[in-house]
Amino acid sequence: MTNKTLTPPPHEAPPVFTRDMLDWLAWIEPVAEDALDARQRESLIDAARSKSAYFRLLARDPDVLEARTRTDKDIFYNPEAGLPRAERELAATATSRFNGCIYCASVHARFASTYSKRTEDVDRMLAEGVGADLGERWNAIVEASVALTATPIRFGPAHVERLRRAGLDDLSIADVVASAAFFNWANRLMLSLGEPATMPKA
């Protein structure tokens, strides 16, 4: 068997960070939708993900995919106390912006905008980068996410202290940490297994 990377169909790469819906094109072969076995289908968790090339590619290692997705869901969707959903999404967006993942940033900027209603602030970070001034509480969350994303990791007591001063309790700070840490997982998959494309204009 010869293994060759895929050549994506003609498409336009998104030129800037955006809240628009983007497509994602794989560089190596996902499992075909009708070839997914029972374990691979189960690992998608949401049946609709069988339409997604990204999830069908990750389904090649179903045990890791399923645990990854269940980790993701609890970090972002668990409604019990802690950091509001909007700010978990802000941490995800800041991490993606700093790592340079245009696809992940688009998805989570939409969520951050929807849940916070602060669309202008979200758009300012997409346009200007993680140094944009978004007010102290959001600045503290963005700075913490960036410090945790940098290598070597810079996140330390000063970031914890700034988050506490901004009104975050320990569970909320742990939510910032988990959200930013998780996007260091997600960004690397999205960036390295395929590429984003603008959606064809209807």
Binding site: E29, G82, N99, G100, I153, A180, S192
Partner: protein
């Protein structure tokens, strides 16, 4: 060495009944699934596309690149447990020490974002390292370095290099998941340690 029941708790130093234990318990599913992810990667049901020794070699390299002693020591022990020779362990250490270890950097597609391009090295294994590691693991570590420090430089030819070194498509998915997961785990541990007032 006994593998801890929860690797993140062990690396952070979470003790039962501590404030951090209570914080982690509020996100019990994420806590459990992070551990399930670890087991899926390091105690896989099917290791035919990537051996456990290769997984531990990559993990040790990733941990060294991050310069976090708690995780680097943990994966050093896993690597020995997986049957690595002293020569292999030494080669991984030497390669990590020779590689640039600061990120993220990289280029955007040419256009308005080009002004944010932060160019940096594409790291290659040394020739001595390549001999000690073998072609397959050397290609993996070169890919790993890009994933850790400049993932936005990723492009299809990087995956072709893995194919050419003998990796399967499924093996590439597992390798990518492994590095991405470790990027998460190392940061989760570092962040929770800071929250607990540890360095």
């Amino acid at each position: 060495m006994q593998v801890p029941a929860d690797v993140v708790d062990a690396l952070v130093g979470v003790t039962p009944g501590s404030p951090l234990d209570a914080v982690r318990a509020r996100r019990s599913e994420a806590r459990k699934q992070a551990q399930t992810s670890w087991r899926a990667l390091f105690e896989p049901a099917d290791a035919s596309h990537m051996s456990v020794l290769e997984r531990c070699a990559v993990a040790r390299f990733v941990a060294l690149l991050h310069g976090r002693s708690e995780t680097a020591a943990f994966y050093a022990a896993r690597l020995v447990e997986a049957g690595a020779t002293t020569a292999l362990a030494a080669a991984i250490e030497a390669e990590a020490a020779a590689a640039p270890r600061q990120g993220p950097y990289g280029a955007y597609p040419p256009g308005p974002l080009s002004c944010e391009d932060a160019p940096g090295a594409v790291w290659q294994a040394t020739s001595a390292g390549r001999t000690a590691l073998g072609a397959r693991l050397a290609a993996a570590l070169e890919h790993v370095h890009m994933l850790v420090f400049h993932p936005r430089d990723a492009a299809a030819p990087a995956l072709q290099a893995l194919y050419d070194a003998g990796w399967s498509t499924t093996g590439i998915v597992t390798l990518s998941q492994l590095v991405a997961f470790l990027s998460f785990q190392i940061r989760l541990v570092a962040g929770l340690r800071a929250l607990a007032g540890r360095s």
